[in-house]
């Protein structure tokens, strides 16, 4: 009876020992896959020094696996796994993983984005690494599983502050570029504001040009000349044209201009002195058109043409030109 109990105990113990001594599946080191089936492209951080606690490093691994092998997706690293090196927590944690798959006829390309964050620091700069990730490959024909080792990326972690009394000049690392503030948002805002400023300046130019796109195009006689050209060659058109010129004269003079204050107008606006006689002639014509209807009958069809020419001369004076030269 005693023997039977001892035998059972020994049997259970041996089973337990055999179970404990069996290596865990995760720790099993599988054979390396033949390099001809896998090609790798690494996109690592651009610098390998000057990282401090809290910094984020991103790397993108592009693996192209040829058939008959395929990538075991469960072997892609997962977030939250505490990485240790020589029994110590490395302090470089995987904080984000994403992957995408592009299928080809004889291969599949896996693009794996890995984001790590630094959670370690020290009194002096010390080495650290984005660990070498083990990705498993399965042979779909032979039911064979192999592994592929993605190379690690080595870099240095710096302390946040200088320890002890040091000479900064000697401490400066040629690998450490100056820290740059991310100004992309500000640059975008600046570009938008420059665009807005440009639009505002165009608007201002338009307003200063009196709703015309070139300076002086919106000045009184320039506008009047454009309007008069569209007026009909009738008695009514003649009256409208004369009224339009009166309006522009008044606007230019800043007061109502009549036949008895032409001299003071010329005195105030000497640019119009070359057309003084024409202005007097215009007032004589205007008198016939507006105030002496009986004598207005003597006006001929050339009056409208003369008004257009007169208005053009006024426009030239307005632009600082001599009308004789440009007529």
């Amino acid at each position: 009876m005693r023997t039977s109990i001892q035998t059972k105990f020994l049997l259970a113990t041996s089973v337990l020992i055999s179970l404990i001594s069996q290596p865990a599946l995760a720790d099993v080191v599988l054979p390396e896959i033949n390099a001809k089936y896998v090609t790798i492209k690494e996109d690592n951080p651009t610098r390998d020094a000057g990282y401090v606690v809290g910094d984020i490093l991103e790397r993108t691994i592009t693996l192209t696996v040829k058939k008959p092998y395929e990538l075991v997706k469960e072997s892609i690293p997962i977030v939250g796994y505490e990485h240790r090196w020589k029994g110590q927590i490395s302090g470089i944690e995987l904080s984000k993983v994403s992957s995408e798959e592009i299928k080809h006829s004889d291969s599949v390309t896996h693009v794996i984005h890995l984001t790590y964050q630094v959670f370690t620091t020290g009194k002096l700069a010390k080495p650290a690494a984005l660990r070498a990730e083990i990705i498993k490959m399965r042979n779909t024909e032979k039911k064979e599983t192999l592994q592929y080792r993605v190379p690690s990326f080595n870099f240095r972690v710096s302390p946040l502050s200088v320890f002890g009394s040091v000479k900064l000049k000697e401490e400066l690392s040629p690998f450490t570029p100056p820290f740059l503030i991310d100004s992309s948002k500000q640059k975008l805002t600046l570009k938008l504001l420059i665009g807005l400023l440009g639009l505002s300046l165009l608007g201002l130019l338009y307003i200063f040009g009196m709703h015309a796109w070139l300076p002086r195009m919106g000045a009184p006689f320039a506008k009047a000349y454009r309007d008069i050209r569209k007026m009909p060659e009738t008695a009514s058109g003649l009256q409208q044209a004369a009224a339009r010129i009166h309006e522009s004269l008044n606007k230019t003079a800043g007061t109502s201009l009549f036949g008895n204050n032409i001299d003071s107008f010329i005195q105030d606006k000497p640019a119009f002195s070359p057309v003084k006689q024409d202005i007097e002639k215009f007032f004589a014509l205007s008198r016939k058109v507006f105030f002496e209807p009986e004598s207005a009958q003597n006006l001929n069809e050339h009056s409208k043409a003369w008004l257009m020419k007169f208005c053009r001369h006024l426009r030239d004076c307005e632009r600082g030109l001599r009308p004789e030269a440009s007529a």
Partner: protein, 338 residues
């Protein structure tokens, strides 16, 4: 009436003007305005300082117009009756009543000259109001007519002692109030002081030929003249805008320095006033050999015919002359024609 007759009368008018200008130097604008007023059949009020020649100017015109001429001096004790009749004891020892200045010339009265009108009492102004407006007067149980009468009056604005303001209703009866100022020209000023012919006003006035105009034909001619000179629709619109601006200058952007324009005008030009502006402007056009009224004709008479009709807030009355001048100039500058 033919153009020749119009031209003939114009020659008479210009002759009168020329003769008056010979004895009253440096007053071409007032002389033109008074000539205009005579042919527009409007009463004239001259305003100016003491001794600037107001009375002499009016006497000179009176001589040239011809017809009956009467004159009265405004005094504080002058009563309306003094204009109509006066009483006296005759050589027979009995009381007699004789016609006063207004009645003395009867229907031939062409000029009634009221010197220093602002010294007369409001009762006298009141009588004058009717005579000026209606050219009639009831006296001795009879209505007397003075169809050819023009009232020429003068006043000085400087002296305020023993004077009465002419009420706006009486002012409105005058076609024009013409300011008389001493000429600035040195040679004219020198002549006025050193040339002895200007020292004796009676002798000076006697140099104006008598009866240059036929006073009893003036009413008839004035009517024909008014009908001969046209006013186009554009001008009518312009005059209406001027009228509106005298009532509400702020609507036309008229400003006067140091004046609250919203409080300034209590009353603008009256319809009678604007009608007188047009009458005077037509005469001005005729004198300038035109057949239609131009804005310039309005400008020439605008200040003289409108300024005295404006009624300002009492706070601005003391600066009346200056404010009225600036406001009316502002109106002419602000309103366009066409």
């Amino acid at each position: 009436m033919s153009d020749i007759q119009l031209a003939d009368w114009r020659n008479h008018a210009l002759t009168l003007e020329s003769e008056v200008n010979k004895v009253i130097v440096g007053q071409h604008i007032p002389v033109r305005l008074i000539t205009t007023s005579i042919f527009a059949r409007g009463h004239v009020l001259l305003e100016g300082d003491v001794g600037v020649g107001k009375t002499t100017l009016l006497r000179a015109f009176t001589r040239g117009i011809g017809g009956g001429y009467q004159r009265i001096e405004g005094t504080i004790d002058l009563m309306p009756n003094d204009l109509v009749y006066h009483t006296y004891l005759g050589e027979d020892g009995k009381p007699h009543v004789s016609p006063g200045p207004i009645l003395m010339s009867g229907e031939n009265l062409s000029v009634f000259f009221f010197n220093e009108i602002n010294r007369a009492r409001p009762q006298v102004h009141s009588l004058l109001l009717r005579v000026m407006a209606e050219r009639t007067l009831t006296a001795f149980n009879k209505e007397h007519h003075f169809p050819h009468m023009l009232v020429f009056a003068d006043r000085n604005q400087v002296e305020k002692e023993e004077t009465f303001d002419i009420p706006s209703a009486a002012r409105d009866r005058f076609m024009m109030e013409i300011p008389i100022v001493v000429p600035n020209d040195d040679s004219i000023m020198e002549s006025l002081v050193f040339d002895t012919r200007f020292h004796d006003a009676d002798a000076l006035v006697s140099n104006v030929p008598e009866n240059i105009l036929q006073f009893d034909q003036l009413n008839k001619f004035a009517s024909i003249l008014q009908n001969s000179i046209s006013a186009s629709p554009t001008l009518r619109s312009y005059v209406l805008n001027l009228w509106r601006a005298t009532k509400t200058p702020t609507d036309f952007g008229v400003k006067v320095s140091g004046v609250d324009m919203n409080r300034l005008v209590l009353s603008g030009a009256s319809p009678r006033g604007m009608a007188m502006v047009l009458r005077a402007a037509r005469v001005n056009a005729w004198l300038n050999e035109r057949t239609a009224v131009l804005p310039e004709d309005i400008h020439d008479v605008f200040h003289a015919t409108v300024a005295h009709r404006l009624v300002f807030s009492p706070v601005y009355e003391m600066r009346r002359t200056e404010i009225a001048r600036d406001m009316l100039s502002g109106i002419i500058h602000a309103i366009a024609a066409p």
